[in-house]
Symmetry: C2
Subunit: 310 residues, 2 copies
């Protein structure tokens, strides 16, 4: 039963407060592919990025300068950036974990970077080999040098809504970590539900803990099916930048079609229906995700891709 | 990364209007199983219903008296009801398409029935072999006799948000069909997004078209990943009864793990997190859906079942 055969149904804006336009921060090529078990050739990644730009996405997180020992999927970062033909109007941020990563980013001529902080002690220790406090000693010189070089810096805050080792996470602690990053000079924070456990009341409460939502983005994983509802809650709080991953890339390797990030297609379907502009051509995007799923050898976990991508 | 190992994260009620309690109308045994390609033995169905009741679900749509020629999966309706041990405090409504179905329901001693109307001309024709208008000639004597026998009658309205043949559906037409069913004596309407295309603004607009939401329930399919967001929108409009299917049963047979109904587990996860009472024990429910998925020979499409059901 292809609803699209007779065109999309009604566009009905919400009667409640919603932004008129949302910027989608597409993380498929970085957060998506770094969590896929297949290592994708650099030529495929370049075509993927170009297809995403052609589908109207204007922010494409391209890769990461994390050490290849930790993320072999993105070991080709320098080669990828060397081969990247940047489209006008599109930005291609790169994740940079520390000063060594920044050196490589500077060398590659990158203009937008993102750093990756933890909201919890345990994840700081496990993911960064740092304490909650000492992570800032790593970020401070990184951000200072990036700003001095004229770069724009985004700060990710991970484990904002729950931590697999600690359970509930103190909102004050998340806000504290986020504000330190803003004070350092990050232009935007991306608040991440790294394990996908959040529900909409938590989202409202955390966003309400920040004085100003204009520099906040949200980053939801769909592990418990909550990503889109949480996004809706965030939009109602005034957030206008949403992270998502084309085709829902980023599923865990241990389960076929397990879910990682919020799928960009599912997000665009909702925003299209609400009359919220994204600039994205959904058909082109679905086509891209089908193409990528073929390269990864597993079906996309995106509901929209499964429904339309035939 | 099992978040449950350290207990559920924060329960954070929404700062916005939400009901304190939601009744889940569990449709897995009827709407779920009638759309599965495997025909499940009656003993398994009985165990399924008993496990669902034991998990705290208080409304279990048990089966349907649709002609077995159309729904062979539920051809055992009479046998099932004969074997059913009803738990106190649990209701077991049965779908009844017409007077012939009602005769069988009366014979089986059923106390709660549901009828199934179409909001669109094409679906009335294809599913009921009726026109939009003449479907009421079928329902009127059915409902009148059911009420005279002391039964409670729910009215489903299908294709409320989009129709695969007609596209957009007039809200006035949906409201008109619904109000006719209420006037006939239905105690509740279940507004169905049969093809899963709706977005939250549509939900708010349709619910706003009815004078009183207290007799409305919502029934979302997750084909485009929108079911939970639409449910959240409906709850904010004052709806307190939500249809869902344990494990997301009801996927189309052509695609492994394709999605049908909103999964009860994904709904309960959200409501638990929001502090909205449902009476459901999520762990027991997940266990039941894992058990049922084994019997169907395919993984559950519920995100929560996949994450927790290991």
């Amino acid at each position: 039963m292809g609803a699209r055969e007779v065109g999309l149904p009604d566009v009905v804006p919400s009667s409640r407060e919603l932004p008129s336009r949302v910027t989608i921060w597409e993380v498929g090529a970085r957060d998506g592919l770094q969590n896929e078990s297949v290592v994708v050739p650099v030529a495929v990644k370049l075509e993927f990025l170009d297809r995403l730009a052609s589908a109207g996405l204007s922010v494409l997180e391209a890769t990461s300068f994390v050490h290849p020992k930790w993320v072999p999927q993105l070991a080709d970062a320098a080669e990828l950036l060397d081969g990247l033909v940047q489209r006008p109007g599109v930005t291609y941020p790169v994740l940079v974990p520390n000063e060594r990563g920044l050196d490589r980013a500077l060398e590659a001529g990158v203009q937008h970077i993102a750093i990756f902080a933890s909201a919890t002690e345990t994840f700081a220790s496990r993911n960064l080999n740092r304490t909650l406090e000492s992570q800032f000693e790593m970020f401070e010189p990184t951000v200072a040098r990036a700003l001095a070089a004229g770069m724009d810096v985004r700060g990710y805050v991970s484990m904002c809504f729950g931590d697999p080792w600690e359970g509930a996470v103190s909102r004050a602690q998340v806000v504290g970590v986020g504000e330190r990053l803003l004070e350092m000079g990050c232009s935007q924070l991306s608040l991440g539900d790294t394990i996908g456990v959040a529900t909409p009341g938590q989202v409202e409460a955390l966003l309400g803990g920040f004085g100003d939502v204009s520099r906040l983005a949200v980053h939801f994983h769909d592990t418990y099916g909550q990503a889109l509802s949480n996004t809706l809650a965030a939009l109602r709080c005034g957030v206008t930048t949403v992270d998502s991953s084309a085709g829902g890339l980023g599923g865990c390797p241990y389960a076929e079609s397990a879910t990682g990030n919020l799928a960009t297609e599912d997000l665009v379907w909702m925003l299209d229906g609400l009359g919220v502009e994204t600039g994205v051509d959904l058909d082109k995007l679905v086509e891209t995700s089908v193409w990528m799923a073929e390269r990864l050898g597993r079906p996309s976990p995106s509901r929209v891709v499964r429904a339309l991508g035939k």
